[in-house]
Amino acid sequence: MKKLEFPQGRMDCLSRELGAEVLIYDLQRDEGHCLNYKAAAVWRLCDGKRTPRQIAAELSRQFSTAVGEQIVRLALGQLWDAHLLVEREVSVETPSRRVAMQRIGIAAAIALPLITSMAAPTPAQAASCLHNLAPCTSNLQCCSNICSPVLNKCIGG
């Protein structure tokens, strides 16, 4: 369980809105993240001055429906795990997504905050891999992931 008292979103990432979702690229870790509308709404309110309870109150106002603090803490936990919050030396306490689903019911689960994350590839990882005995200069180029430093060829596949 994790606890964040005054969560603050990192400002050093690239972020772009796509409808109700937000796409974030972490330049430090070379990771991409997609925040669904609920996670994005929480993230936008992470200004380092609001508590999770205050964030929930603001979201309730924005969505014209009650948003529980538990939902906010769920989003904060995911934002924390995705390294999208400023890291401070505090103990962290948030419910897991599975626990939240059990409590609010599966039907309402689609309204839960969700963050999808993917690692950004290097150019070699994004390209077609090389077959065995093809000339190579790095392991990432080879389908086998092994580039012999002696032969400068892909081996082992």
Partner: protein, 273 residues
């Protein structure tokens, strides 16, 4: 590099492709004739002498000698890429390396590792890593009448339009990592020329014994899948992100495993109609 510069160069060429300027020089006359077909589609001769990357191809020494290995050498700037008796292997290394270099350095286009076909004036884009079955699926889509755009890269411009990157399809026989090239014409397919708006983006991977089953993805999740296959995302993150969003705004994204390509291809085209 000085040592390379001091060699005698028989011929050379500076060319630009998608905003990237590359040079190639060779110690043996006639080598350019074998190199030109390997250059990226749409390349143009560059009047500029200054290039961003210079390839040096040192042809095997033709002199006779017992026990002498006649090696062809390929350098990119001063990094040796290949050292082979088989010239074809060296040329393949040149093609792979400079295509990837252009894909990673281009300011004009964002390169996504993907198969692309045209269908009813929209692009069907199939992003995916090696061995996900992109080329097999592209081939099947062509058989059903789609227009060939690429089996390697989707090129995205600043408006989110998908441009062709036409080169022979690299088809792997079952279980092999070696690719054999087939031209689209040999497969009876027409080749795309005009840029197209992305209609359907299909994230799928071959799994033996599976029935085709795809579910919709949100635009954000779809854009993330494109990001995960973008060659230049680490080097040009802001430009890449903006272009991917332009694609995502207008495309439909689906994801799921597939079995035989014929089943999936028919369903994809039906969905894209």
């Amino acid at each position: 590099m000085d040592k390379l510069d001091r060699l005698g160069w028989a011929e050379g060429l500076a060319f630009s492709a998608f905003g990237v300027c590359v040079g190639i020089r060779a110690t043996v006359s006639g080598m350019l004739d074998r190199i030109l077909p390997l250059l990226p589609p749409g390349w143009k001769k560059s009047p500029r002498g200054l290039v961003q990357r210079l390839y040096s191809l040192i042809g095997a020494n033709g002199s006779e000698g017992k026990g002498v290995r006649h090696l062809n050498l390929l350098y990119a700037n001063n990094l040796r890429l290949a050292r082979e008796t088989d010239l074809q292997a060296v040329l393949e290394a040149f093609r792979n390396d400079h295509h990837l270099y252009v894909a990673g350095a281009s300011p004009d286009m964002t390169f996504i590792h993907a198969g692309v076909v045209g269908w009813q004036r929209r692009a069907v884009v199939l992003p995916g890593r090696s061995f996900s079955g992109k080329t097999t699926l592209v081939r099947e889509l062509l058989r059903l009448g789609a227009t060939y755009y690429s089996d390697e890269y989707a090129l995205v411009d600043e408006r989110g339009l998908i441009h062709p990157f036409v080169r022979p399809l690299g088809i792997r026989e079952h279980g092999s990592t070696v690719q054999t090239d087939f031209t689209p014409e040999k497969l009876g397919a027409s080749v795309g020329v005009e840029p197209l708006r992305a209609g359907t983006v299909v994230i799928t991977e071959y799994q033996a014994g599976t029935r085709w089953e795809a579910n919709p993805l949100s635009q954000g999740q779809g854009a993330l899948e494109l990001l995960a296959n973008s060659v230049a995302i680490r080097r040009l993150p802001e430009k890449t992100l903006l272009r991917l969003l332009e694609v995502a705004k207008r495309a439909v994204f689906i994801r799921g495993p597939r079995g035989e390509a014929s089943e999936a291809a028919a369903s994809i085209l039906n969905l894209s109609t």
